[in-house]
């Protein structure tokens, strides 16, 4: 049996819905990690069932709570709006259509000191999520394992430098995906690692030639 008892007896979460509340909170908490620097303003575009039922399921509070870094079992989720106000995070919601996306999906437009970032993802059931788009680049990861999100110039040799650094640190790559909009432009690289990726390694990757940014994402953070 490859289903663990803890997939059935869990997750421990704030109700009422694993997909609409816990999943929503995790989606925005991961988006916050991707954005890196503190989010000043978050605009949530709600798609499908999220748009239809977000108020009754507290998806709105959960999304704001995630943006504040609250975990899915944090009882402060129900007071997320008040917490956001005291922490200086402004937020808004609107219905939207995300073509080809799962019923429970959200597009988050995040304003940080570094500028605007757009991250879209889906809550796929039982509190699990998938990040599907970052700034228009197609990606797909859950954040369940330590994940490196790297933006780089689409030039020869960048990837081999990155994988060399990972190998030097004894980190095995479970999954890797490169996405670009045009040849020779900017590329997004997502690497799911089998073990923890230390923050200083992300810093080293960031210092490589032609790398724009590198961040470690993990649902456990």
């Amino acid at each position: 049996m490859d289903t663990s008892v803890f997939e059935v007896a869990g997750p421990v979460m704030i109700g009422p819905s694993s997909s609409h509340t816990a999943g929503a909170a995790r989606l925005s908490r991961i988006a916050r990690q991707i954005a890196g620097s503190p989010v000043l303003k978050a605009d949530f575009g709600l798609h499908g069932s999220f748009a239809e039922t977000y108020k009754g399921h507290g998806s709105d509070k959960a999304l704001v709570a995630g943006m504040l870094g609250f975990r899915e079992d944090d009882e402060r989720i129900s007071k997320a709006f008040e917490e956001a106000e005291s922490q200086g995070l402004s937020f808004s919601f609107h219905p939207t259509e995300l073509e080809g996306f799962h019923e429970n999906s959200v597009e988050m437009s995040l304003t940080t000191e570094e500028g605007l970032m757009t991250i879209a993802g889906s809550s796929i059931g039982g509190g699990e999520i998938l990040i599907k788009k970052i700034n228009g680049f197609d990606v797909e990861f859950s954040g369940l394992t330590p994940t490196l999100v790297i933006f780089q110039l689409d030039k020869r040799g960048v990837l081999s430098e990155v994988t060399r650094l990972l190998a030097e640190h004894g980190i095995n790559i479970g999954n890797m995906r490169l996405s670009r909009k045009a040849k020779g432009d900017i590329a997004a690289c997502v690497i799911e690692a089998d073990s923890d990726v230390p923050a200083e390694l992300a810093e080293k990757i960031k210092e490589l030639d032609n790398v724009i940014s590198a961040r470690v994402i993990h649902a456990d953070f």
Partner: protein, 286 residues
């Protein structure tokens, strides 16, 4: 190892279901007995807290459809005991408390889902109390329940959107029934008969939440399916045998779920959600 109930039964021969489940957890996920029970203990503490929180204090929920139901049931259990007696009324109050906590954006342990989070805590706590069982024995029952749930999740579904309420509250009742038999000292085979009875008792049950909120009929279903778990356990303990093997009952539940129209699968388009009064409530809330 095992892929279905009959495989689990074979492995549990001469021992308990929880021991076979623990063996699988060790083999498939490399977890030690100590790790497993530590985590079970943590999650059971959350279950206990949610089964108690709304007993003394009514909780505010979006739409307010079930505020105070747990408290009312609990005081009814303590004062008159009603027609079913204080044991059953306390059981229902505990299940209702979990539902009320869930609807009020409080902390719960989804088991197998958030909507069905009251059934297993209510059954484990109430039987543990009645039979004065040590915590370890209760955690062993929780492990057995979760192991059985894993099989159902893998071979069928535990999602209301896929299989209706039978797949959420019904499966929770089936897991709880098997666990209840184990707590009462019944052998693994009796546990599986109890599991089958619980599922048979609610085969085809629709998921029809008013206004799409996880409140009505979810709270009432948590209470009634907790009772279903106990009476299914008692039928098995009395020696009644299910004429359909558990794996076939689970498969029947899956197929029945497929046959249910989308209106009856968490869309709030059928059942009591689609009644005039149900629609009126929806319009009032949103």
């Amino acid at each position: 190892m095992y892929n279905n109930i009959s495989g689990l039964l074979r492995l549990a021969q001469g021992k308990s279901i929880w021991q076979a489940v623990l063996q699988n957890e060790a083999k498939a996920f490399g977890r030690t007995e100590e790790e497993v029970f530590l985590e079970l203990d943590k999650r059971f503490s959350v279950m206990e807290a949610s089964a108690e929180k709304a007993l003394e204090k009514s909780l505010e929920t979006a739409g307010g459809l079930i505020e105070g139901v747990a408290k009312a049931q609990w005081s009814f259990a303590l004062s008159s005991g009603g027609l079913c007696g204080d044991f059953i009324n306390k059981l229902m109050a505990r299940a209702l408390s979990c539902s009320e906590v869930n609807a009020s954006m409080g902390r719960i342990c989804a088991f197998p889902t958030a909507g069905a989070c009251g059934i297993i805590p209510a059954v484990l706590i109430s039987i543990g109390e009645k039979l004065e069982l040590p915590r370890r024995t209760v955690l062993e029952a929780m492990l057995a329940a979760a192991g059985i749930g894993a099989i159902i999740q893998k071979n069928a579904t535990v999602s209301g959107a896929e299989g209706g309420c039978q797949a959420e509250c019904g499966v929770a009742a089936a897991m709880a029934a098997a666990a209840a038999v184990q707590m009462a000292g019944g052998d693994p085979e009796k546990s599986m008969h109890a599991l089958s009875f619980a599922l048979i008792n609610c085969m085809g049950l629709a998921c029809d939440p008013i206004a799409g909120l996880v409140q009505v009929p979810c709270a009432q279903r948590n209470a009634s399916q907790a009772v279903n778990a106990l009476l299914s356990a008692d039928m098995a303990l009395a020696g009644m045998k299910c004429v359909i093997p558990a794996d076939e009952v689970i498969e029947a539940m899956r197929r029945t779920g497929k046959m249910l129209p989308p209106q009856l699968k968490e869309t709030a388009q059928g059942g009591i959600a689609a009644t005039p009064a149900g629609k009126k409530l929806r319009d009032k809330i949103f």
